[in-house]
């Protein structure tokens, strides 16, 4: 059997991949995907803990996370499309009307 720590390490690795991706990538769609990777890292964590602790509620949480992530992507892509219509670019650096 694969020990729990492997799963947790996998989840941490995925999470950090997503985190670094959000911070350094400039393509809007790739950044959105990186956020999805972070959410899936959370799912791996929940399922692993749920199995290890023999408690079912972690897996229930995963369903909610998946649902919310789907809703979030729907809204995010909607916003990206309306942004793209105004200025045909998917590069983050082109959107600097507001000073950050």
């Amino acid at each position: 059997m694969v020990p729990l720590s492997w799963y947790v390490a996998l989840s941490a690795f995925l999470f950090i991949t997503g985190l670094v991706g959000v911070l350094i990538r400039r393509n809007i769609v790739v950044v959105l995907l990186c956020i999805e990777i972070m959410l899936n890292a959370v799912n791996v964590n929940f399922v692993a803990f749920s199995d290890y602790l023999h408690l079912i509620d972690g897996q229930i949480f995963v369903f909610f996370v998946i649902t919310v992530a789907a809703a979030e992507v729907a809204i995010g892509l909607g916003i990206i499309i309306s942004l793209f219509r105004l200025k045909e670019s998917v590069n983050m650096d082109d959107y600097n009307l507001l000073k950050l």
């Binding site: 947790v8 989840s11 999470f15 997503g18 985190l19 959000v22 809007i28 950044v31 959105l32 956020i35 972070m38 959410l39 890292a41 959370v42 964590n45 929940f46 692993a48 803990f49 290890y52 602790l53 408690l55 509620d57 972690g58 229930i60 949480f61 909610f64 996370v65 919310v68 809703a71 979030e72 809204i75 995010g76 909607g78 916003i79 990206i80 309306s82 942004l83 105004l86 200025k87 959107y95 009307l97 507001l98 000073k99 950050l100």
Partner: protein
């Protein structure tokens, strides 16, 4: 597993508003464009019904749905504040949407859904419910911020808010997953019971706690997680900005408080320093960066960061006094922020919103009423007596002193004095200078009513706060099932 009708009765306001929000979404194509304001009035009427229903639950402590959802005096107070803020927002938005030519029928539906999300947040007894509430609120706000689809700034603000919001949500969730892994429970009271064991403070609990704190700090826009605030507040339609800055922040504070005071009260020593750091950074950034802003919405955004810093001080010590101070602070903050944004959204220069500080020059000569109302809100935000903002700050600092953080209260008072400079600067530009540009200020009946309500509440909370003090004192109970 038994299911009693009490569960349905206790969540009646939420169920009712969810159904109503869906009806508003469905009704939109059947209502002609010029009658769209009826949808808004319908929404106001329903919010008042929901308010009465919540009032009926006053004084009860019900753990519903096996503790997933908690109705207690604490959450009822926050729900009342959410209803009031949403009603005032709708009053402002009815004429505003006309003027800005935003004919999106879904607007009121999203507003109601966002309010439901906030209500779920403040009543959450479990991290699942909490997460769903936060996401329901955020998803609606992302859309509302990007409401002016043809205006570049609005869509860009929406995009930035979405990206950073989703990022913060992912970090928050990772924190929850670590907490779950360490304790094996997702309920807030279960976590509290687990944290009380002396051997429970594994690094995993600490890491989970810090990550959830990051998520909450993002939602209340406290430094160092405030980066999105000025951009989003500037780009969003001003009604939505007012809604996010006031109601959204109040709800986020409610849930922040419940999680940290109930679940993590046993390891207070571990988070006190983090809270102090957040408070000092927010007060510094909020009050100092605001000095150089030219756009009033950006300035109010920094002011709201500063106010988050003051309010966070109230979280330091889980006591009745701090709870009272924080609730009073948020109550006053709601009215003065909504009022200030209300003035900004009514003020127009040549048909566009007068959102530059330049537009306020000599406002007193042209429109004494607008200048006077703005003076009330600015003085109250600065914390000058006799307005509500002063009393709110006073209670917060008193609570800090009694909790043994006298030095923090001193820092707070000093930074609040720095902040007073830019509020008073606005009052100066309104009263001491000659008007240059043509600025219109023509509120209609609804806007007038909303402005007078917020201004009256700001003043009354300062000079005659007793009824509100009594009301808040009856709401000081947090139920731990």
């Amino acid at each position: 597993m038994n299911f009693s009708p009490v569960n349905i009765m206790g969540t009646m306001p939420e169920i009712y508003l969810t159904v109503l929000g869906s009806i508003l979404l469905l009704m939109e194509p059947f209502v002609p464009k010029e009658k769209r304001s009826w949808l808004g009035l319908f929404a106001i009427a329903s919010l008042i019904f929901a308010m009465i229903a919540t009032f009926g639950l006053n004084g009860k402590g019900l753990p519903l749905y096996q503790g997933l959802y908690i109705v207690d005096p604490f959450s009822n107070f926050f729900k009342m504040v959410i209803y009031t803020g949403t009603i005032i927002t709708i009053l402002f938005s009815l004429p505003y949407l006309e003027k800005e030519d935003i004919h999106v029928g879904e607007y009121y539906g999203f507003l109601i859904f966002a309010a439901v999300g906030m209500m779920i947040m403040v009543s959450a007894g479990d991290l699942i419910t909490l997460f769903l509430g936060i996401e329901l609120m955020s998803l609606c706000l992302y859309v509302l911020v990007g409401l002016k689809r043809s205006i570049h700034r609005s869509v860009e603000a929406s995009f930035k808010y979405f990206l950073l919001g989703a990022f913060a949500a992912a970090i928050f969730l990772y924190g929850i997953s670590l907490l779950y892994g360490a304790s094996g429970t997702e309920s807030i009271s279960g976590l509290a019971a687990f944290v009380q064991n002396p051997g429970a403070l594994k690094p995993m609990i600490i890491a989970g706690m810090i990550l959830t704190m990051v998520g909450f700090a993002f939602k209340v826009s406290a430094a160092p997680f405030h980066m999105w605030t000025p951009d989003v507040y500037e780009g969003a339609p001003t009604v939505v900005t007012g809604f996010m800055a006031s109601v959204g922040k109040v709800a986020a504070f409610g849930v922040f408080l419940r999680v940290f005071w109930v679940a993590f009260s046993a390891n207070k020593d571990h988070w006190t320093w983090l809270i102090i750091m957040i408070a000092i950074l927010s007060m510094l950034i909020g009050n100092i960066v605001a000095l150089v802003q030219k756009n009033i919405k950006r300035m109010l955004a920094y002011s709201s960061i500063g106010h988050a810093g003051f309010a966070v001080i109230g979280l330091l010590n889980p006591s009745r006094e701090s709870l009272f101070a924080l609730m009073f602070y948020l109550f006053v903050y709601l009215f003065m922020t909504l009022g200030a944004f209300g003035i900004v959204l009514i003020l127009r220069r040549k048909g566009v919103e007068g959102e530059e500080i330049q537009d306020f020059v000599g406002l007193n000569k042209k429109n004494p009423m607008a200048a006077f109302l703005m003076l009330i809100f600015m003085f109250s935000l600065a914390g000058i007596p006799p307005f509500g903002g002063f009393l709110a700050k006073f209670y917060i600092f008193m609570a800090a002193v009694h909790a043994g953080f006298t030095w923090l209260a001193v820092v707070g008072v000093l930074l609040s004095a720095v902040g007073a400079y830019y509020y008073i600067q606005i009052v100066m530009t309104m009263y001491m200078k000659e008007p240059e540009e043509v600025v219109e200020f023509m509120p209609n009946r609804m806007e007038k009513f909303a402005l007078f309500l917020t201004a009256a509440m700001t003043v009354v909370m300062g000079i005659f706060p007793l009824p509100f003090v009594h009301y808040i004192e009856t709401s000081l109970a947090i139920l731990v099932p």
